[in-house]
Every structure is written in structure tokens, then in C-alpha cells.
């Protein structure tokens, strides 16, 4: 089966924000802060710039973006649409410039003069937490958005633990990089008194809510359309100040306005994610069975709390998901969201899980090395067994179903562990070192009200709704509030409709991305769409099926209970049938053929859906990698890569494979390439794709994927959210493989991306501190 949406994408017929042209449309460019931290003392519009240059003082009635969390101790930040008095990030908006084209708008931005009083910048999350650090928000008194604590009785385990392992880990700040950046076109419709906003977003309804709050408009005065969107990955799950500003300009100037983010804006000012630091102490018995984990985690949350997921998006989750798929006795964690003079931390595929998996899985490998056992073996002893499912773990996460140990065993088998161990016994002809590594994790997805209510961010998901409508010619329209931008939901939701109504997917249209046409939804995030929108579509189609059956049965002269719907026909027991076209035509165009007591709701239903439990599905996966490390150049080549995953019942295995491949590519980016470094002044140092390295086709190995299919007991078809897992496992699996390769040298890498310099430094450090034996090994390769 081909994806329905691919025809237009492959033929270049997609329509993205950048393709939209409206008569009289003006382009917007922003003057952005050149420094990370300063007081904005004065800003002067150029002569004649009254109608084309706008600053904070012009934004009458516009409110700052606020994303408040109900977590205890959360400190509020207001993200200004245009900065008024203080600048807290390089790239923060200082003025908006309007011109007939982008170059002229940038010329205007160039001509603005301003005076700054520079302040020392907080460039690093650990620095942010030190006494005397500069304050990002003076009124707070410190640089802490929020801290989450999980307490546990580590002491009782500590005394009897034979093994204690201490490590420090870091995952670098990244810029998630969808092919299409952000972009917005806004126009004020005078007839409807309504703002029409085309924006590249994953959550049009939430953007609508956010815009109405910031602009002081009623919901009905805002219509948001997300047309084709060229990749989201979480970066399009936020409200940007640029969106608010462009909308205000469209209202103020009465003309269509457009801003298209360029790659420099995306890299240096907006798309930021993933920056974690961990101090972990793990306790194990003499065989390496994990007994307890004591962790202190810090997430660099940047300067502002992004809407709607807030500044604790990652850290608050870190505390609850660090234990991973394991069962052990004691756990303690403190997780801090630190404020720095860097762009706000945003959700990125795998949210928090990628860093957590990295810290946990490297720790388990460190334990395995300590006790001299195979890393996969010590995992098998503490993974939650299938007999315990469903299982409430140490932080009360409810694992719905699955066989975690089997998943790991399959990955170990597929990667050929014994063969790799054998290969390692003789030296490679090219002097490289071979290593093998695994990682395993579970991924809470499609979690709903009960989970998010406690977090209390501006958006708590409830029932997901879908509209199913049979058209007069017997086709099916499905209207959903989520958005599809690469996930293939125009195909998979149609498959659900086909499954229930027997209508060919070619005759099913999935309508999404327009707040005027679809039911309210929190949108596409958290690997929730196949579970939530899929469940809603299934329920809606089932109800529609009942209505169709009644009309069809009447036309056939039998009772509704005596018909079935097959192949787009209502079929009676004696084999006579009417087509759904006939049913549709009758309801809409020939109602005289129907009895008076026919259901007046007709052939359109709106249904809300929640899973039987809203604590989330837990898909899981084991990743395994074989790498070759060049200890002189510091380079890493991935020789083999395996993913064994369980996403419950797969609606479309081809699409799931695609999700896994894409996620793994991004995970390899996290593991080996992608990094947005900042200097001590808070300046981003990788503002082009020549400096910010993304993996390309030649860097991605041929990934082997194996599926397991353990149904979730709580969802419509047993499906689980599976969209993010590919991006979670690779940094851990690859780093474990690299550290396995480095074992003869006694070196270990605990930070991603594993750049040549980091790798060579690790070897250097091992050389400096190693006992004589491994020092000799280090000499041998250096």
C-alpha cells in the first residue's frame, strides 16, 4: 500500500507556508539581539520608519507569552513578543520590519540604531546554579525554573551493595532541524472580522488558543491553518513570538504579512533542545544486578518557558522516567530546570527520554565492566519480566504490556554478539577498534489527562475527537484536530476507516490542520496520534456504521440487526445489498425515501475518545550497534545497527519502519554529530549548516528492524505510540559500543556527540591516569 499523501509530496505539489502568496503581502524581518544578556536602553527607528518599523512600545494590547506550570515552586517567566527593556538571548526579537520583500525588510533592520548595556551572560547550566552567577531573571533570586524531587531509601541499599559506580554525563544542546523551518502568513479578514493564520505547526488549535490570549482576541476571531508542514519533531509544537508579532502586524497594517524563518534564525535563535547533565551513582550486587540509583540531573532550559510545554518539559520528566524499563529497589533523583541566556528548551522527538536513556544505559554498561560481565546479561536480570505485566514501576509508571527481556535477546542475536566478541580477539588490519553496544528503553506515549493534570501546563489533553461523515456519493471524510507532517496519518487514519466501514482508502479523505474544519485537539506530539486520533476515528466510524446500517437496512426492507457492512455495501442475510453511495444519496438528496423516525443526526458523527487507561502506552525497543573506532583520528564508523521494537499492533508496518529509520538517523545525529556550542558570552557558534553537522545519507547505516507486536490492553486495536523511539536509543547504544571498543585502553566517553576531539581527549585522559598495563595499550595505538 502506498501512502496517500506521497503523490503530492513526490510530485512537488505540496503546499507549504512558503508557497502561499496573497495579494499585497508584505515580508517581515526582525532585528535580533546581537548579545546574550543586556539592558536595552534605547532603540531608535530610522527616519521614515514609522509605518514600517515596530518596537515593543508599539505593541498595544499584546501580552507576553506565558507558559506556567502548576508544579510546586515553578517560577514564571514572560517571553516578550518584542523585547522592551532586557535582552536575554542572542537572537531575541528587538524590532519587526515590514517591506515588500525580505531583503528590503532586512535593510530596514540594519538601519535601526540602539543602545545596550551589556551584562555578563549565563552560558552554561552548571554555571547558572553556582552562587554569584548572573541572574537571567533578577526577580527570581536564582536561576532555577523548578526542581523536581523523587526521594527513596538509598541508604539501606548502599551498605549491602558490592558495586558502586559513579559517573557524570552530558548531552549537548542541539538544534532540531526539520527541512522546512518555521513560517507564518497572517491576514485580517475584514468581512469575517477574523485573523486567518497560516503557520507551520503541529498543533493548530493550541496556536489558536495561544494567539487569542496574546492578542486579546476571542477564539472565534482566530482561524489557524497548518498547510503541508515539512517536518515537525517537536519544534513546531510551540508558539513563537514571531507568530504573535506577524499576526499583530497583519491586524495593525491591514495587509497580509509573511515571515519565513531562515536557517540562521532556526539554528541560532529558535530551535534548541536536548541539553542535559547527570551525576549518577548506581549500586549493584556482586553480579552486577542493579539495586539502586541516585541521580542529580540538570536540564538547560534556556531563558524562557516555551508555550505550551513549559520550561520543565524535560527535567520534570527526567525524574520520573530515569529508571527506564528496569525493576530495582531504591531510587532517588533531583531534577533541575536551570535558566540560562540561551533559547528556551523545546520538545524534540523523544523528549527527555534520549538523555535519560543515555545516562541509564551507560551506567549499566559501567556496572557490567566493573563486574566483568556481558552488558546485556546484567540487563536481562533487572528488566521487568513479561510475567509482571502490567507493571507499576518505582516511579508509578504503569507499563501496559510487553516482553522486554525477549526484545533485548532478539537484538543481541540480530547484532551477532558472539561473532563480534570473537572478532575483537584479534587486531583489525587497519588499526581500528571494534565495539558492540546495546540500549533498551520503554517509551510512555499518548498519555493523557491524569498524567498532564499534575504537571498543570497551559494544555492538558482530554478526549480526542474525530468527525466521520459519509458524503452524498458514498465516500468518507474524517476530520481530526491533530496534524500529519510526515507520520503518514492521511493514510493510517484512512486505514482505520477502511477497517470499520469497508470503504477503499482511496475514497477516504482525512482532513486536518484547519481549526475551522476540525475538532479541537492538542495536536500532534507525544507519539499520540495513532492511539488517540486513531481511537477517535475508530469510534466515530463505528457510530457512523450504525447509522448507515439503519438506512441501508430500511432500503433493503430488513431490520438493521440483520445487515452487515462489507466492501462499501450494506448487505442483507439473503445477499441483497445497497452501496454506500446509495445510502449517502438517499440521506442527503432523497430523504422522501426514508421513514419519519430516521435518526436526524444523519450520516455525520463527532465522537470523543480516551484509551481505557490514560496513563499511556509503553512501546519499547532495544537498539544494538557495532562500531569501528579509529583511536588516532577519533572517528567512529557504525558498521551494523539493529532495532527490535514493539509498538503493539502495527496499523501500517511500512510507516512504522519509516518512523524508526528517521528517528535512528536523528539519534545518530545526537550521538555523533549535532551540537550547538555556546561561548562564554552566550554566543551560539554553529549558525550555519556548515558548522552544525547533520548526518547525511552516507552517515546512516542500513538499519535492521525487527518488530514484536504485543497489544496494549488499553487502546482501540492494541496499538501503541511509536513515533519517537527511533531517536531515543542511538546515543546510548552507540556510546556503549564506542566504550566497548575503548575498553582495552581503559577510556570511556560520557558525553555526546562523540566528536573526534572528545574521543581523543578520553583516550588522553586514560593515558594520563591508567595503570601501566593499559597505558601500554594506549601507547600502542597512539
Amino acid at each position: 500500500m502506498r501512502r496517500k499523501e506521497d503523490d503530492r509530496y513526490m510530485r512537488g505539489r505540496g503546499e507549504f507556508v512558503g508557497d502561499i502568496r496573497l495579494a499585497g503581502m508584505q515580508e517581515v524581518a526582525f532585528l535580533r539581539s546581537p548579545v546574550a544578556h543586556a539592558r536595552l536602553q534605547a532603540i531608535h527607528k530610522p527616519e521614515g520608519g514609522e509605518g514600517s518599523v515596530f518596537i515593543a512600545a508599539d505593541l498595544d494590547g499584546v501580552k507576553a507569552i506565558r507558559a506556567v506550570s502548576a508544579l510546586p515552586g515553578f517560577k514564571i517567566s514572560e517571553q516578550p513578543v518584542l523585547a522592551a527593556d532586557k535582552l536575554r538571548i542572542v537572537g531575541e526579537l528587538m524590532a519587526a520590519c515590514v517591506a515588500p520583500n525580505r531583503a528590503a525588510a532586512e535593510d530596514l533592520a540594519d538601519s535601526i540604531e540602539y543602545e545596550l548595556e551589556e551584562l555578563p551572560a549565563v552560558h552554561d547550566m552548571l554555571q547558572a546554579l553556582q552562587d554569584g552567577a548572573p541572574l537571567v531573571h533578577e526577580e527570581w533570586g536564582d536561576n532555577i525554573f523548578q526542581q523536581t524531587f523523587v526521594d527513596g531509601d538509598i541508604e539501606s541499599v548502599r551498605e549491602r551493595a558490592a558495586v558502586r559506580v559513579e559517573r557524570e554525563y552530558r548531552t549537548s544542546r542541539q538544534s532540531m532541524a526539520p527541512m522546512e523551518g518555521r513560517g507564518v502568513v497572517a491576514v485580517w479578514d475584514r468581512r469575517l472580522e477574523q485573523l486567518l493564520v497560516y503557520t507551520s505547526t503541529q498543533m493548530p488549535h493550541i496556536v489558536r488558543t495561544g494567539l487569542s490570549e496574546c492578542l486579546g482576541l476571542a477564539h472565534e476571531q482566530v482561524r489557524v491553518v497548518a498547510p503541508d508542514v515539512g517536518g515537525g519533531f517537536g519544534y513546531k509544537g510551540i508558539l513563537l513570538p514571531e507568530e504573535v508579532c506577524v499576526c499583530w502586524l497583519a491586524m495593525k497594517l491591514g495587509r497580509p504579512m509573511r515571515w519565513l524563518e531562515d536557517r540562521r534564525e532556526q539554528l541560532s535563535a529558535n530551535a534548541n533542545c536536548r541539553e542535559h547533565h547527570y551525576r549518577v551513582t548506581a549500586y549493584a550486587d556482586e553480579r552486577g544486578r542493579l539495586l539502586a540509583l541516585d541521580a542529580d540531573a540538570v536540564v538547560d532550559a534556556g531563558a524562557y518557558s516555551a508555550y505550551p510545554f513549559s520550561a520543565c518539559l524535560e527535567a520534570a520528566q527526567v525524574a520520573s522516567i530515569l529508571p527506564g524499563p528496569y525493576d530495582f529497589q531504591a531510587y532517588r533523583c533531583r531534577a533541575t530546570s536551570a535558566a540560562t541566556n540561551k533559547p528556551p528548551i523545546l520538545p524534540y522527538r523523544g523528549v527527555a527520554r534520549t538523555g535519560v536513556c543515555f545516562a541509564m544505559e551507560l551506567t549499566l554498561d559501567a556496572i557490567a565492566r566493573e563486574v566483568g560481565r556481558e552488558p546485556s546479561d546484567i540487563r536481562l536480570e533487572c528488566l521487568v519480566p513479561p510475567s509482571a505485566m502490567p507493571f507499576d514501576n518505582i516511579t508509578n509508571k504503569h507499563f501496559d504490556s510487553g516482553d522486554y527481556p525477549e526484545c533485548l535477546r532478539r537484538a543481541v542475536k540480530a547484532i551477532g554478539l558472539p561473532e563480534v566478541r570473537k572478532r575483537q580477539q584479534s587486531a583489525e588490519a587497519d588499526g581500528r577498534l571494534i565495539g558492540v553496544g546495546v540500549s533498551i528503553f520503554c517509551e510512555q506515549a499518548a498519555h493523557g489527562t491524569s498524567v498532564y493534570a499534575g504537571w498543570g501546563i497551559p494544555m492538558v489533553p482530554g478526549h480526542e475527537q474525530a468527525v466521520a461523515r459519509l458524503t452524498p456519493d458514498g465516500a468518507l471524510e474524517l476530520r481530526v484536530g491533530i496534524h500529519s507532517h510526515g507520520q503518514g496519518l492521511e493514510t493510517t487514519l484512512a486505514q482505520v476507516g477502511e477497517e470499520i466501514l469497508g470503504i477503499d482508502i482511496e475514497r477516504i479523505r482525512v482532513i486536518h490542520g484547519d481549526t475551522a474544519l476540525t475538532p479541537y485537539s492538542t495536536g500532534t506530539w507525544g507519539s499520540r496520534c495513532m492511539v488517540m486520533a486513531g481511537g477517535a476515528v475508530a469510534e466515530a466510524c463505528k457510530q457512523l456504521r450504525g447509522r448507515i446500517a439503519v438506512i441501508g437496512a430500511f432500503l433493503l426492507g430488513v431490520e438493521a440487526a440483520e445487515v452487515v457492512i462489507e466492501d462499501a455495501r450494506v448487505v442483507a442475510q439473503d445477499g441483497r445489498s445497497v452501496s454506500l453511495d446509495e445510502v449517502g444519496r438517499t440521506w442527503y438528496l432523497r430523504p422522501q425515501a426514508l421513514p419519519d423516525d430516521v435518526n436526524p443526526g444523519g450520516l455525520e458523527v463527532t465522537v470523543g475518545y480516551k484509551a481505557l487507561r490514560d496513563s499511556g502506552t509503553f512501546s519499547y525497543a532495544a537498539h544494538a550497534a557495532v562500531v569501528a573506532v579509529d583511536p588516532r583520528l577519533g572517528t567512529v564508523e557504525i558498521l551494523d545497527y539493529v532495532v527490535v521494537e514493539d509498538g503493539g499492533v502495527l496499523v501500517n508496518p511500512m510507516i512504522v519502519d519509516g518512523q524508526v529509520y528517521g528517528g535512528v538517523a536523528q539519534g545518530i545525529g545526537t550521538a555523533l554529530y549535532e551540537e550547538m556550542p555556546y561561548d562564554h558570552n552566550g554566543q551560539p557558534l554553529a549558525s550555519t549548516l556548515a558548522d552544525y553537522l547533520l548526518p547525511g545519507a552516507t552517515e546512516i547505516p542500513d538499519v535492521q528492524i525487527e518488530h514484536m507486536e504485543t497489544p496494549s490492553p488499553y487502546t482501540a486495536f492494541g496499538q501503541k505510540g511509536i513515533g519517537e523511539g527511533g531517536a531515543i536509543g542511538p546515543p546510548a547504544a552507540i556510546a556503549n559500543a564506542v566504550n566497548d571498543a575503548l575498553r582495552p585502553l581503559g577510556a570511556e566517553v560520557c558525553e555526546v556527540p562523540i566528536t573526534p576531539r572528545r574521543l581523543l581527549r578520553a583516550i588522553e585522559a586514560a593515558r594520563a591516569s591508567a595503570p601501566v598495563d593499559s597505558a601500554t595499550a594506549v601507547e600502542a595505538v597512539s
Partner: protein
């Protein structure tokens, strides 16, 4: 990220390009693969761009007994694809194939790359090793320079006002000579962190090694035993004193790889 306004002129006569370059804030453009991003980032703000990409004198080539004269506006892709006679026994097409990505090679030119003088550019190191030369043309006539002398520092050449790179002279390589080339890159298309190049022509008595992408002009060692490795560290220390220990080791290792991987042509 759009350039400042500039005048654009399509140049159809070499002498006019030189004349216009002499006064005012004009820059030459051919493939625009380096200048384009600089314009868009507004790091370069020329008043005028003089497009020499279709200038017939710069688009041709001429083969002679001792080598090949390549017009400065010949693209990397044309060299890669063998559209020019190859006097280097495969060296030039091979190095061309490793430059950035095909999209860059389709437009980027050999002369433009040398005139831009990015220390990490392949032609700078490769031609320094082979003993290539640039042919410079200015208002006062022409001159020739070795590539290794032409590049005097990072993004810095010996070009004078009103002078441009018209052609590149590539020497004919003798059978039995050796060439090796190795780039330290993490991914396809990335600018190199270190480049090693080695060329040996025993008959002609040439032995030359180059350490490129050091952040300055290429470090060239020449003479019998240049490949042996003695003197590399010292040369690197002298020519690129700003490197830290890891970078220094990377450059030495990269050159060692170039020597190890060198092949008889």
C-alpha cells in the same frame, strides 16, 4: 538572510573585469558557492558583482606537453566528470569528487576556490602538492605563481588590486609517480579538519608533502625524505603555531595516512 542590494554585471571581456575590479567595491563571482553564503549572511557587502562564470577565456582548457592549463571558471564537476583531458593520471578527478557535495561541485569553480583561499579547500592542498600554478591577469598584464605561494594565509592571497585568477596550470604527472591524499572529516561534504597530501616523482626528483586546513597557508615540505616524517612537527609548529596538541596530532596523523595510502600513478 538576504544580501544587501548590489549591481550585477555579466562580464564578457576579461580586460573589463580587471578594470572594474581596480576601483570601487566590486567583487568577482563565478560559482558563488563561497561568496553566495557570505552575501546572504551579509558578511560580504559588495556594491557590484562581476559575473565571470561564462567568460570564454576562463571556461576553456589547453593541453601541452608539460601539463594542462585549466580555465579558472571550469567547475569541480567538469573535472570530476572527465570533461577535460586528464594529465594527472586520475588525481584531479579523484580529488574533485571529494569536494563538498555534487550540488556544490556543479557550480563551484577551480579558480574561485583558489581565489577564496579557504585553508580547508581541496585544491589549495592538492595543487600545492602537485606543484600547480595559478595564472593571474591584471590591468598591467599577467604573471604566474605557484599555488603554495599564491595562498598566503586564511582567505588571503597574493592577488593585487585589479588582478584575477585566469587559469590554473596543472603539471603532467609522469608514470610511476606517487600521490596520496587524505582528509580528516566526520561526514561527507564537511570542510576538512586536516588535509594531508603527498606527491613523489622519483624520476623528476620531486618529493613533497602538504599539511592543509591548518587555519593558515598550506604547510609544504619538500625534498628527499619529506615523506619520512622528520621535520613535520617542526614545520607545523613554525607555520601553524596556534594549534593545540590534539589538532597538531591530527594533522600529523592525517599526513601519515596520506603517505600510507599513497599509490603509484
Amino acid at each position: 538572510m538576504k544580501p544587501c542590494a548590489f549591481d550585477y554585471e555579466h562580464i564578457d571581456e576579461l580586460s573589463r573585469a580587471c578594470a572594474e575590479l581596480q576601483g570601487g567595491n566590486a567583487r568577482l563571482v563565478a560559482g558563488a558557492q563561497s561568496l553566495g553564503p557570505m552575501l546572504n549572511l551579509r558578511l560580504a557587502r559588495p556594491a557590484a558583482l562581476l559575473d565571470i562564470s561564462r567568460l570564454p577565456e576562463l571556461r576553456g582548457f589547453a593541453e601541452s606537453d608539460d601539463g594542462l592549463l585549466v580555465g579558472a571558471a571550469v567547475t569541480h564537476a567538469e573535472i570530476e566528470d572527465g570533461l577535460l583531458p586528464d594529465v594527472t593520471r586520475g588525481v584531479l578527478p579523484r580529488v574533485a569528487r571529494g569536494i563538498a557535495y555534487r550540488a556544490v561541485r556543479n557550480r563551484g569553480t577551480i579558480g574561485g576556490s583558489l581565489a577564496h583561499a579557504d585553508p580547508a579547500a581541496d585544491w589549495v592542498s592538492c595543487l600545492s602538492a602537485l606543484g600547480g600554478e595559478v595564472v593571474l591577469v591584471g590591468v598591467d598584464g599577467g604573471r604566474r605563481m605557484r599555488v603554495r605561494d599564491f595562498v598566503v594565509g586564511a582567505f588571503h592571497t597574493a592577488l593585487r588590486a585589479g588582478e584575477l585568477v585566469a587559469a590554473v596550470r596543472v603539471p603532467r604527472l609522469a608514470p610511476g609517480s606517487r600521490f596520496g591524499y587524505f582528509k580528516a572529516c566526520r561526514k561527507t561534504g564537511e570542510l576538512a579538519h586536516a588535509i594531508g597530501a603527498v606527491f613523489v616523482d622519483s624520476e623528476g626528483g620531486t618529493e613533497r608533502v602538504v599539511m592543509g586546513a591548518t587555519g593558515g597557508r598550506p604547510v609544504v615540505l619538500e625534498g628527499e625524505g619529506a615523506m619520512a616524517g622528520t621535520g613535520w612537527e617542526e614545520a607545523l609548529e613554525t607555520s601553524a603555531p596556534g594549534l593545540d596538541e590534539l589538532d597538531r596530532r591530527l594533522h600529523l596523523e592525517t599526513l601519515r595516512r596520506a603517505c600510507e595510502l599513497s599509490e603509484t600513478l
